[in-house]
Symmetry: C2
Subunit: 325 residues, 2 copies
């Protein structure tokens, strides 16, 4: 089953999307409301979804990702991990920060802003190009209600939907902000999500209950930037990230958890953010050459299945200059 | 006008409460929905509130804070500042952390979890007493939609409601967590709020558009723990905190912003959290004597107006042992 939120009000209109991303069918209510009542609602959605895939829903309309908000246009929680060791190593090296000693045993997760998620084709408005605008291509999952103290094993059943994310980061604001000790705030301005969120069964054999064995493809202005595999080098899979996030409190239905920037040790696959490439340039040649994003730059993030079909649709969006009204 | 959310489902039932906290009247919908449509909804609420204060609402019922969820039982954003320099100095001293050099010019704010706020009389379930359980008595405000890049001056008009908060902190988890560089997550387990949130006019002359010139009174197991004035020593008032939070992104309606632990330089007024008293004990006598909270301990946080009347009702709650089901 694939679900989207067509732009409408603050929370969008819950929309079923066919497996081939061609047809759609809107329903009363929102995705958050569906997640709030998932045990009762999801069987009905699954039945309708099967009918939509067989083209047996008369009022279906052509699906257009440009009409999409994020699957959850606003959420009660966005907890973003940093589960790929290759990313952690390069980014910390780039800003002369130490590697956390607990790296292999204790997940890194930050509490992100979740009040204004961007849709897959929405512009990313930024006030100042000099802030070091960067993309971060990630996998994200949505949970139902997760009890406090859940084990990683029990957490697997709480992964209800999977999607892609672009976590926009303002690299030049990060060092000052982190030096204050309270984590990211201004430096994590926006997060965008793929047109659809899918139930894990849509991933077939690429899903093992915790991560996706497929490349995540990022292009910048039409040129491929990276295609790392989303399972390789993921130190903590989603159940581990959920268990970490739920150690001292429950997670409410509709909690969104991110993987962090997908990265592999194999440099030939490229990167899912600019700062990694810049770090490699510094290591290789002493100086970063790839600039951060400029107004007008366009980032595309997509994941294809083994047969080359888009699973989530594409995040495809431009950075724009924000002008206060 | 005073607003509460009576326990009902995930988001409570929007409830008007009389100025004297004696009578209440429930309305269709939730506080979040009201905030989403504040310009249209608030005039009607204000008219009804005036009728309730004059005891002219026939279906009014006796107000009971034990039936209250947090005014927003879950929110899309909880951004908690640390605006009182006396608190910052003592807490950092207690954990041997440096004072941020930008302390006087750049607000400290962390992104908090907002998916499961506690009501004023709800138990605070914690799995492990050894985590160093502490309260933090704070002021919090709720905004409407705040545009990105708002100035502090313009931010004043976006403060729609004011309430009290108890930001439960797990002190023994903080050093390890902050050393990882990503800010608080597990160490900020729960936040509770006062029975009612009030429009700023309810604060009368104690409100200057940015802070409250009244003591915030905390008692622990019936003994007064602190009564610092909530304006004294607030380095950044709420408009400054809003402007900081909105520098790189807009804030959605229903954003909750906290002041951080209210603290004064004058030690005779006591403290709004245990870790401050422990820090003072270390400074004075070389060793902390006051223990962190134990299961069964009860914290009460309240603010009285100049005539001794409770403005927000009281947060009054016990710490309890969490047993997984």
């Amino acid at each position: 089953m694939k679900l989207a939120s067509i732009n409408s009000g603050r929370d969008g209109e819950l929309t079923l999307v066919s497996r081939d991303l061609k047809r759609a069918f809107s329903l009363p209510g929102t995705l958050q409301t569906a997640l709030d009542h998932w045990p009762e609602v999801s069987p009905k959605l699954i039945a309708l979804s099967a009918a939509l895939d067989e083209d047996k829903v008369p009022n279906a309309f052509p699906f257009d990702s440009a009409q999409c908000a994020a699957p959850l246009p606003r959420a009660y929680q966005w907890a973003d991990g940093s589960a790929y060791i290759a990313h952690i190593a390069l980014v910390r090296q780039a800003r002369n920060a130490e590697m956390p000693p607990s790296l292999w045993t204790d997940p890194l997760i930050y509490q992100g802003g979740s009040a204004n998620f961007l849709g897959p084709n929405e512009d990313v408005p930024i006030a100042d190009e000099s802030w070091g605008i960067d993309f971060e291509a990630e996998i994200a999952i949505i949970t139902d209600d997760v009890p406090m103290g859940v084990t990683a094993e029990a957490a697997r059943a709480h992964i209800k939907l999977v999607m892609l994310a672009n976590d926009i980061s303002l690299r030049n604001l990060i060092p000052t902000e982190l030096s204050k000790g309270f984590g990211f705030f201004q430096s994590k301005a926006w997060t965008s999500f793929s047109p659809v969120a899918v139930t894990p069964d849509e991933l077939g054999e690429a899903w093992n209950g915790g991560s996706i064995d497929l490349p995540l493809v990022t292009t910048l202005n039409g040129t491929e930037f990276g295609r790392p595999n989303a399972r390789t080098g993921m130190v903590f899979d989603f159940p581990r990230l959920i268990a970490h996030a739920a150690r001292t409190r429950p997670l409410g239905a509709g909690t969104v958890i991110g993987s962090g920037t997908v990265a592999n040790d194999d440099r030939s696959v490229g990167s899912s953010c600019i700062v990694e490439r810049r770090a490699i340039e510094v290591i290789d040649s002493g100086a970063a050459q790839t600039p951060f994003l400029k107004f007008g730059d366009r980032v595309r993030i997509e994941m294809l299945d083994a047969e080359g079909r888009s699973i989530f649709g594409a995040i495809d969006q431009a950075i724009t200059a924000y002008e206060p009204k």
